[in-house]
Symmetry: C2
Subunit: 367 residues, 2 copies
């Protein structure tokens, strides 16, 4: 059975959530605000970008739906649980918008955008195994319902499907960009395991991790559109830089949101990173700015992962005290500014303005 | 740190096993007989094939070693644990031998054979997560040492590396064959989860699973050599059929060996499939041929997986009583015969005789 596809399913109302009778009580869950209901300027940016690519996005959803089918029923069941669960389709939208920015007139961006979403979804499935997180986007994660085995293997299936789509497209340059990105993502995720539970991780090492695990796919998603549009190297590099810096900003904000429950627009469980002892920038900053006693607190909770009921509250308090959330967002603004300037070589257009505005959307969703 | 690569490392002596101080006691482990020490006719077949492709195989090992490197140290450490752990390199040898059979004079088969081994290794890493098996090839599995997370992610890395190698080779037809095989493998593995713990699984469903999860890569490994040699469709199909049927025979024997400790030449833990409630042909046959009381035994041990100390012995006894091991091998001979006949369209040559003989090697290793 396939759940309804749509960019802004409210998880509480989703047929998947209902059917699977997902646990909702006893969890500290960030409030999920459907995008339709929001009225801020940055949300307007997201709606503007979506409106620009609405037809292609519908075509991407059709490709996704068609290509996640398998004679093994569990595959579409599990894949649809994640793919239909209210994802914003931000990455495929970037591919579509970048193609428009490059003046591309064909339809190859549709399959490639679906391919980008498949790679992203495969990564999420494997991430859930890794993180043992209970909730993603407000729904129970696939592995909590179907088991680690199925999450790993359906992830492999979607990853293979992504490559099949690329092969059908037929561009070896696109294949090179996305297979390189995939290798870099996996490297970044392994690197993240190593930095986990290590409070001495440097901000540079953290940046390496998020550049690889998150920004590489944003960069590739944008860059491939310049390739299919056969634009000059400078435009390909500009879109690569736009995607990479937007991706870094996006992950910085994500890591801030993981501690900022009241401000969150994510459906993730607040405090996931804390409970796993993941070392993210907010923690890095608070650790470096903290007293000896505070550092002992971080070492106990994040290195040996001995955590009591009130520890998440204390962690959040320390982050606020040291301005660590605000400064993480400030760092995000820095990368966002680079992303915006990267687009400088493109002539003014509605889609360019929408891409510039989406940078603010990715950062301001924290407020 | 990289362990020494070699096709016949004796696990007890391997630097990896020593370094990691792996558990050896209290496990029922099949005796691993190094290939060098064997003197039967079928082992001679393996040595003959390896001798034919010895130079290319050394080049494949060099590519594997070079391409599993990463600036994230854990990746080569974990990958080498599996890749160096005494694998026979059967699949890459098939690619190399098939290229020879097709009269191919170039060197593209080397990278592609490495790519086949990377896909196989990625599958093993993800399989270990799935199966929670303790031992593979006589060594503790990667996930038992490094954790599920690292196994999943290093598998993803090797899978991405395989695609990077294919992209470097530059053939979209090869890319299509191997990306299709990868999707089929993942489907087969998910299908296997569904048949697990279900004693009513039909022999046909079981065959579907092993054709997908094992034979698809054997088939692709052979077929791609006909593609790079630009041979006619008939030869490509013949090599595809040879690989597919050899792969089915190989998996049937593997599943027999999982219950046939005294005969085993594998380093796997004997009884792994039983402990996991995996439904393989030996069990299917014994269940269908058994009494009502015996079927209750299989349901208890494989469906609800309530197992006592003596249950594996009883299972092995029932398999022998009903000729289930012998008939599984007999089924393997059937597919082996199809594999041999598939090569009929090729002129007689030393490499053709070696490929025919390798079919017997894959089946007779059970004795």
């Amino acid at each position: 059975m396939l759940a309804q596809l749509g960019p802004a399913n409210k998880p509480q109302d989703s047929p998947v959530a209902e059917r699977l009778n997902l646990p909702r009580e006893g969890k500290r869950v960030a409030v999920v605000i459907p995008l339709e209901g929001e009225r801020t300027r940055s949300d307007q940016a997201f709606r503007d970008l979506r409106a620009l690519v609405t037809d292609e996005l519908a075509a991407v959803n059709d490709v996704i739906l068609a290509r996640m089918q398998s004679r093994v029923d569990l595959i579409p069941t599990l894949a649809s649980h994640l793919i239909a669960a209210g994802g914003k389709r931000l990455r495929p939208m970037l591919t579509l918008a970048a193609a428009r920015l490059c003046g591309y007139g064909g339809d190859r961006q549709v399959k490639l955008a679906a391919c980008v979403e498949f790679i992203h979804t495969a990564t999420l499935l494997h991430d859930d195994v890794v993180d043992a997180s209970d909730l993603r986007r407000g729904n129970a994660t696939a592995n909590a319902i179907f088991g680690n085995e199925a999450s790993v293997l359906v992830g492999d299936f979607l990853f293979s499907r992504a490559f099949q789509l690329m092969v059908e497209d037929g561009s070896l340059r696109v294949l090179a960009i996305l297979s390189n990105a995939s290798a870099v993502i996996a490297e970044g995720e392994v690197h993240q395991i190593i930095t986990s539970n290590d409070t001495t991780t440097s901000e540079d090492a953290y940046l390496d991790v998020i550049t690889a695990k998150t920004a590489a796919l944003f960069a590739a998603a944008c860059r491939i559109s310049a390739v299919i549009a056969e634009r000059p190297k400078a435009e390909e590099q500009a879109l690569e830089s736009f995607g990479r810096n937007l991706g870094i900003a996006f992950q910085l904000v994500d890591d801030a949101l993981d501690y900022a429950a009241s401000q969150a627009v994510l459906g993730k469980t607040v405090g996931d990173d804390f409970r796993e002892g993941k070392i993210t920038l907010p923690v890095l900053l608070a650790f470096r700015r903290g007293s000896a006693e505070e550092r002992d607190f971080w070492k106990r909770t994040l290195e040996t992962v001995e955590q009591g009921d009130s520890d998440l509250d204390r962690a959040q308090g320390l982050l606020v005290k040291h301005g660590a959330i605000a400064d993480t967002i400030e760092r995000a603004r820095h990368y966002g500014a680079i992303a915006k300037d990267a687009l400088g070589i493109f002539a003014d257009s509605r889609v360019k303005r929408a891409l510039v505005a989406i940078v603010d959307f990715c950062i301001e969703r924290a407020h």
